[in-house]
């Protein structure tokens, strides 16, 4: 099987072949023999040339995939090379409308702008509260408030779009 795997923004080409007891991995052209064993849910023990790694997989509610090794944490994206171009294109660019999303579940305590307002990049748009802390969600760019999709007092989930800046 072949994967393109993005680790902390850097793409690695990976070819994986299952051997009798181990896996053969070709990583960016280099061959590595890997003894991998799933020990508990989302916890894999990996031995590479005697070196032992415990790799924990974590998928967040927002769909992010992380690999945690010891105390280091890596943002990982597993991609099929053929569909990569399409996916990249979907992302949109700075030029188009951008969403202000809730980075955490919480309660909307104040909305600082109105629809059609002109805003600067970094300007406060919405104030959220969670766990007794208030945090300001800011505009990602200079532009205009196209839409506000929440109301004061609402409870929102992480990843919910709160406003769109065009």
């Amino acid at each position: 099987m072949t994967y393109d795997i993005v680790v902390d923004g850097k793409t690695h080409q990976l070819e994986l072949t299952r051997g009798e007891k181990t896996w053969l991995c070709k990583v960016d052209g280099q061959e590595i023999e890997v003894d991998a064993a799933l020990t508990a849910r989302d916890v894999m023990s990996v031995l590479i040339g005697g070196k032992a790694y415990e790799i924990k997989r974590e998928r967040s509610l927002q769909g992010e995939l992380h690999m945690v090794i010891g105390s280091a944490r890596y943002a990982v994206d597993v991609q099929d090379p053929r569909s990569l171009r399409t996916r990249r294109a979907v992302g949109g660019s700075e030029a188009g409308p951008q969403k202000v999303k809730a980075p955490m579940p919480g309660k909307i305590v104040r909305i600082l702008v109105s629809e059609r307002d002109e805003v600067k990049a970094g300007q406060g748009i919405i104030v959220m509260e969670a766990m007794k802390m208030q945090n300001e969600m800011k505009s990602p760019k200079d532009g205009r408030v196209q839409k506000i999709l929440t109301a004061e007092g609402s409870v929102v989930n992480a990843g919910d779009t709160l406003a769109i800046i065009e």
Partner: protein
């Protein structure tokens, strides 16, 4: 001893008190709000009663509801934990009025210590050293005159304050007016009381506090100090005992003054006297906390005592089972407060479901936790999930054991500040004991660079093998695409979008 005790709290401290109850043969009564039905303290208690909606003022802060449960459950005493109603003298009084023993000091002691200016006046009379400043709330003219007299920088503080609210640092005369107004209005908003006082600002102070304990027969002892200088936004993050800066002579002087403070307040049960320590190791009384502290475990490990057991015994009328000279400090303990917050993203709160939890144990490790795998951390309460405490023969061993335990600790699904503690514990200044309350902010301003060049490749290999192990990937026709889908989460985010969001956050 009490037969049944109500715990008017939640989270790790409720669990800790429930455990003490079970150890002492006391039945525990938990209370819970709507969002805490599945909280760990409800799972562990002998009795549990619903007390209302998530909003604290309608549940954990609601005196009537708590007293009602105490009545219905036939509890004899109420332990308030820390936070919530723990320093509310009216609640302590209401408990007494309704025939429940409040496990803590008398309402009078709490009242006296509750107002910082009143505490100050009482303590001055007892010969306790203070940071130069005003003894009571003052108007802007008086503030101006006093600031001139003791010299800038000065600090404005809310008389009813705590947790950094209503505090303003003033570097020069020109800043005084607007700082005064801001402090006043913030004090009004936060505490319903706009009284503001003024103090000399100590440069690079340490925050050191002394644990005291009194019984209801006039005996008061001190149980050693805690260094609490590792703070972010005036909130403690790590605490240790003993303090790297306190030697035996200073401990005795500080302890004796702390006992004098407690005696002046006619204090009983657990209490803490906070001091500021300047660079010449002079110390100044700051305030008294009339409750059990979050960080009490470091004192427990170093003294070998159980402060919650002691609280119960003293509240039941027993005498302290030891004298000052029997207290034997041994070793060193350091506590990490594990918060649901994202250290890589401006310490944003991070409530949500804990999808995976791997907890450390083994030699020298104590863990007081309110979380479990599968639990949903609610958005309504403070983000303290657990306390991880390392004990060692000396400070170095305590640090090394904590680093080992943090290496084993894994909380998946939400973000926590576990990685922050690794940074702190490896910092040369921390290891040398060079601490002051500005230490953590300075550390956070420096770039973090923990890297192992080989590990990202290992992460990639791990991700690929995980993906290929997904059930979907083994179906006929499976290829890279299916593997990706198998590995992707409910709402896939492209790498670009993730980066964009991270940048947007960094700007704030």
């Amino acid at each position: 001893m009490f037969k049944r005790v109500l715990i008017a709290n939640r989270g790790e401290i409720a669990v800790r008190i429930i455990r003490a109850c079970r150890e002492m043969g006391i039945e525990s009564v938990a209370v819970f709000s709507d969002v805490d039905r599945k909280a760990l303290h409800v799972r562990k208690a002998d009795y549990a009663y619903h007390i209302g909606p998530a909003t604290a003022s309608e549940s954990y802060l609601n005196v009537d509801k708590i007293l009602d449960v105490a009545r219905r459950s036939q509890a004899e005493a109420i332990h308030p934990g820390y936070g919530f109603l723990s320093e509310n003298a009216r609640f302590a009084q209401a408990c007494a009025d309704h025939g429940f023993k409040f496990i803590g000091p008398s309402p009078e002691s709490m009242e006296m210590m509750g107002s910082k200016t009143r505490a100050r006046q009482n303590m001055k009379r007892a010969g306790v050293p203070f940071v130069p400043g005003s003894e009571r709330g003052l108007d802007i003219d008086a503030a101006e005159r006093l600031a001139e007299q003791i010299g800038y920088p000065i600090m404005l503080k809310a008389a009813a304050g705590g947790g950094g609210k209503g505090m303003r640092l003033v570097q020069s005369p020109g800043e005084l007016h607007s700082a005064y107004e801001n402090a006043r209005s913030e004090a009004q908003r936060s505490f319903g009381d706009n009284e503001v006082y003024l103090e000399k600002y100590i440069i690079n102070p340490r925050h050191v506090e002394m644990q005291i304990f009194g019984d209801e027969h006039g005996n008061i002892v001190y149980l050693g100090e805690r260094e609490c200088s590792v703070q972010r936004r005036h909130q403690k993050v790590m605490e240790e005992s003993p303090s790297p800066v306190v030697d035996e002579g200073m401990r005795r002087r500080m302890g004796e003054i702390a006992v004098r403070v407690a005696k002046a307040a006619n204090y009983h049960n657990a209490g803490t006297i906070e001091f500021l320590v300047d660079e010449q190791r002079n110390f100044y009384f700051l305030e008294m906390n009339t409750r059990l502290q979050v960080e009490h475990p470091v004192t427990e490990l170093v003294t070998g005592l159980d402060l919650v057991h002691l609280q119960m015994r003293v509240a039941a009328g027993e005498k302290l089972p030891f004298k000052q000279e029997n207290i034997r400090l041994r070793g060193h303990a350091i506590e990490c407060r594990v918060y649901a917050e994202d250290p890589d993203n401006n310490f944003f709160p991070s409530p949500g479901q804990i999808t995976r939890l791997i907890s450390p144990s083994g030699p020298g490790i104590r863990r007081d936790s309110g979380m479990y795998e599968g639990w949903n951390v609610p958005i309504e309460y403070d983000p303290l999930l657990a306390k991880l405490v390392g004990y060692g023969e000396d400070r170095d061993q305590a640090i090394d054991r904590l680093l080992r335990a943090l290496y084993e600790y894994f909380v998946g699904g939400i973000k926590t500040n576990i990685s922050l503690f690794r940074r702190i514990l490896k910092d040369p200044d921390f290891r040398a004991g060079n601490l002051d309350t500005g230490f953590l902010d300075r550390l956070l301003a420096k770039p973090s660079n923990e890297t192992d060049p080989r590990r990202p490749i290992v992460a990639a290999i791990g991700a690929a093998i995980f993906a290929s192990m997904e059930p979907k990937a083994t179906l006929p026709g499976a290829n890279g695409a299916t593997a990706r889908n198998g590995n992707a989460a409910p709402r896939p985010t492209s790498n670009w979008r993730r980066t964009a969001r991270a940048e947007a956050m960094r700007e704030r």
